[in-house]
Amino acid sequence: MEVEATSIAVAVAGPTRWQRIAGTDTVWRLCLLLGAALIALPVVVVVASLWQPYSPVWQHLLDTVLADYVVNSLLLMAGVGLGTLVLGVSSAWLTAMCEFPGRRFFTWALLLPMAMPAYIIAYTYTGLLDFAGPLQTALRDTFGWRYGEYWFPEIRSLGGAICMLSLVLYPYVYLLVRVAFTEQSTALLEASRSLGRGPWRTFFGVALPVARPAIAAGVSLVLMEALADYGTVDYFGVSTFTTGIFRTWYGLGELTTAAQLASLLLLFVFVLFALERLSRQRLRFHHGTVSKAIQRIPLRGWRAAGTCAWLALILLAAFVIPTTQLALWAGTHWRSSVDAGFMTLVSNTFMLAAIASLCCLAVALFLAYGKRLFPDWLTVVAVRTAGMGYAVPGTVIAVGVLIPFAWLDNHIDLLMQENFGMPTGLLLSGSLVALLFAYVVRFLSVSLQTVESGLSRIGSSLDESARSLGASAGGVLRRVHLPILRGSLLTALLLVFVDVLKELPATLILRPFNFNTLAVRAFELASDERLAAAATPALAIVLIGLLPVILLNRGMTAGEDGHG
């Protein structure tokens, strides 16, 4: 078929046009590979450590702590994966496919926890549920118990870390899967019902498997974020691969060994995702272009009450309780925190997040679309590698950015000095450009996954029909895909925005002089164990995060409620 189509194109268009098309394609591919290589550079710098000599520290790690790191990281992944799956898919299904009082409210409110940095929610829950916290103290005072005489779940444990991360990360799954549900053909669900399967079996047998690309995208984002998390697990005293990387670097002073550990983490993630993709290689999930207004299943009585209670519980645990705790803390301290400098923090944070999310989106569109055009193995691997930054702890990415940028700067400086007697010093290192680049490397995966999962739901017949109508590759993107993808693009933009709002480690290392963000301020205070003082900037992060969530809500619900 392919060959036939090509020869027809040649016959119709004639050789000159064909050569021109071939020429554009080559340029496209070249740009694509170069762009992907550039983004992948920091990751490559990290992975290159595997070819450096292995320090004797390795033997020590193998003998003592490595097994712990691996086991805890795997458990963390499994737990957070399952937790976000349950929270994200159930909330997505209920708000997308069912009608009940409060649905519209929950649709956007369920996104709110996204703006909560994981280590902040960990602090708030520790404050509440810790042995010395108000809840356990009240229990002891009421019942006269003492330490060891009663059982209470230990918040600072692996289980606690899984809960905390699940609560703030489930919105990724919710967001992506919800879009998939709303775009799913209702005929599939009806077909299943008419074949004798009840609502539950239809959900598990059809709706869930068909939404698999979106679920995979959401959960892989979550898993990468969970693997890269440092703040929460470190505070809870859970030794994971990532805390291990930092112990090796900070404690043992072995940056190379730390980078080698990070590379192993990356390889693991790479293989995991490759396996997932391989397992659905033959499947196609897009389903024609038939789109109807969603007919939601009306829920009444105890079903509606149960649904509301479940969603309210999620919201309460993931947002209301921690935010209230933050607000209470901030209430005692905000006067000393909110000064002229604070507004600079707010505007710095906002600007960075806005620009970074636009950059990420542009790059993600370029790569995802390029991969769709040229799905050969080289392109696929290049794009995949470019998207790996998300699984790497931000600090490690920052080092991967620092080293090549400084190398480049120093060589330009040398060149300019030798040839023109004009030293340039460091141009990019220590500038916002380096920081933004690091954000793109780190968060590209978020926008890439979102854009790709959107693209996967557009049948290739649309591409072909647009190309046959004379649209260029870029034209198809601009005139066909972008309008269809608008929801996905908005999602990608806002996910990165919120991620950058919370981003800490890369900002900490790469930022220019006298430049702070809310996350940096919150971290400095929190790491000094001044949680109450840290609450004001943390609350500001959450509040700024509300903005995109509200925007996202508009984008999400526009056009899906007008059914007749």
Partner: protein, 347 residues
Amino acid sequence: MLTAFFARRARHLLIALVLVSLSLVAPAFAADTVNVYSARKEALIKPLLDRFSAETGVTVNLVTGKGDALLTRLQAEGRNSPADVLITTDAGRLYRAQEAGVLQAVESDTLLREVPAHLRSPQNQWFGLSVRARAIVYATDRVNASELSTYEDLADPRWKGRICIRSSSNIYNQSLVAGMLATQGVASTDAWLAAFVPNFARPPQGGDRDQVLAVAAGQCDIAVVNSYYLGAMITSGEPTQQAAAEQVAIFWPNQDGRGTHVNISGAGVVGSSKNRAQAIALIEFLARDDSQQWYAEANNEYPVRPDIAPSALLQSWGEFKADQVDASELGRVNSAALMAMDRARWK
């Protein structure tokens, strides 16, 4: 439409951004400035830097971050690094910076005079600026001060399930064990760790304040914490923290022997510094009487200069004998200490 709009905007924004960031880098090269990479938190250093600027007219640019990250940044930036002064919050990082060759020796009579020899680098590449002690905090209703004596004694079985201490990832714990390694060697340190770790009341977790809270709440009877965290709790103005701090007392261990383990925060001049004179002036300023007072009090630490009195709160805890082990020696054995802790399964 949407992307066309975004693309146009994004290009403008990017251009603006490059200009802005260049203008942000630019001050680093202006004549009368000094650029500081500080692992000490902004709130604990910025007011002093501002005072320095006001007095001398020298602009101070500041980046804060974690010690090792700043060190890596310095190394990557190499000879063109804009940094002039590196400030860290423990001896280990200063030692590493010196080993990495990113610091330079400073001939300053003021600093040699004011900073005691064991609290600065033998090669004069860095100078301690404040001292923090790792003390024992105990629940006054369950533990009698007479039961406490030394760090070594905490390995005794009678403390089983009674000790709270944070993770071995924490630099101050590493430094504590490093101090033991430096004075008593590997074998006895390993033996001590093997008996000490099983005495923990719970898996290591949280920060130093959390250990104090746990002692107050009855989860454990004693905790090993940095003195300044207890000070911070007392002065925090938060009822729960103050109440917890009131239920415990501080104990200075090893007073009959090597002394209580101390660590330092300190500073050095970066090797590639282009503002060497200003950099030295800044460190000298930080060692001055009034600066020392503020620098120490801001974080409930002890001044590095023996002639400056600590805050009233710290004085109320009584004087103590500090371990005189060389700070650079602590840095040298830091990784060996962590490996020993790994072997003892101290998480």
